[in-house]
């Protein structure tokens, strides 16, 4: 039997944060032989763009609705794609955007399994990838928990969990 959700704000709950941290860690280790370290999470009232390629996925676990975003600066995604495919890339292209889509898919799938075992009821979802030089992102009225992720080669990307 699964436990009921008791959280006032699931963003601040260790279970949620740890599910996404573990999902990122395992996904990058298995699929890209890449080890990562996590920075201190912080809350943002408006999601600030932090990269050229962003994977976005709508999360629904009624009554909760939210968004998972993975924001990759150029150097971080090029390094990850190189590690995933054993091919070196110098510019963001279809390979990078496709990889961000697949990473978003796998990280969400992995976190979803953990969270659903803890009483959430997250549904399947297909990610969207956007690529560009963003000045701002308006995707919801919710606040966002941002978790910085640093690769062992020092490049950094960001997990964003927005709850509407």
């Amino acid at each position: 039997m699964s436990a009921a959700i008791k959280l006032e704000n699931p963003l601040l709950d260790k279970v949620t944060i740890n599910a996404f941290i573990k999902a990122v860690q395992v996904t990058l280790s298995d699929m890209a032989s890449t080890q990562v370290q996590f920075g201190k999470p912080f809350i943002e009232q408006h999601l600030t763009p932090r990269g050229e390629v962003i994977g976005i996925l709508g999360m629904v676990a009624m009554p909760l609705r939210g968004t998972l975003s993975l924001s990759f600066p150029k150097n971080a995604i090029l390094k990850i794609v190189e590690n995933m495919l054993s091919e070196k890339y110098t510019e963001i292209d279809k390979n990078s955007t496709d990889a961000v889509g697949e990473l978003t898919n796998m990280i969400y799938g992995s976190a979803k399994t953990t969270l659903n075992e803890s009483g959430f009821n997250l549904e399947m979802a297909i990610p969207t990838v956007i690529h560009g030089d963003f000045k701002s992102i308006t995707n919801s009225d919710g606040v966002t928990l941002v978790i910085p992720v640093k690769l062992s080669t020092n490049e950094e990307f960001f997990i964003g969990i927005t709850i509407n």
């Binding site: 298995d30 699929m31 495919l85 054993s86 279809k94 990889a99 796998m106 799938g109 399994t113 399947m124």
Partner: protein, 141 residues
């Protein structure tokens, strides 16, 4: 293990995952690998390969795809006497019990949960080979 001449069909809407699976198959000595980006594009390829007398020897498919999901493709293959004996592996980010049960009921040969590493995929292929070789249907074929 399956002979290195085995003809594979790898299906995923993300080219990254198709490349990763191809890379692992190449490392295992397999080079006869074709790709499809959805179940809806894969099914006619499976039928055409059969009609041409060069059927696939192994299908590896993603579950979650926009037009035709991997589970639907699996069911379509199992419902067709021409394709029902082709080993069919689902590779998916879905690791919940209900999904695994649905795939097992539909007759999946094995199930790989993403993320995975090359050792996991290799181990699953070996398991499927062992199972296929001990199956009376295959021995009789």
């Amino acid at each position: 293990m399956f002979p290195t001449t085995t003809k594979f069909l790898v299906i995923d809407d993300f080219s990254t995952m198709r490349k990763i699976i191809k890379k692992v198959l190449n490392e295992l000595g397999y080079t006869n690998i074709e790709e499809a980006d959805d179940g809806a594009t894969a099914l006619p390829m499976i039928q055409a390969a059969q009609a041409a007398g060069q059927p696939y020897g192994f299908i590896i498919s993603d579950w979650n795809m926009p037009k035709m999901q991997g589970i639907e493709l699996l069911k379509a293959c199992k419902a067709d006497p021409n394709h029902k004996n082709i080993p069919f592996m689902l590779v998916t980010a879905e690791s919940e019990q209900k999904q695994i049960l649905e795939a097992a009921k539909a007759g999946v040969s094995d199930y790989v949960v993403k993320p995975f590493n090359s050792a996991t995929l290799k181990g699953k292929l070996e398991k499927v080979y062992a199972r296929v070789n001990s199956s009376p249907a295959t021995k009789a074929a």
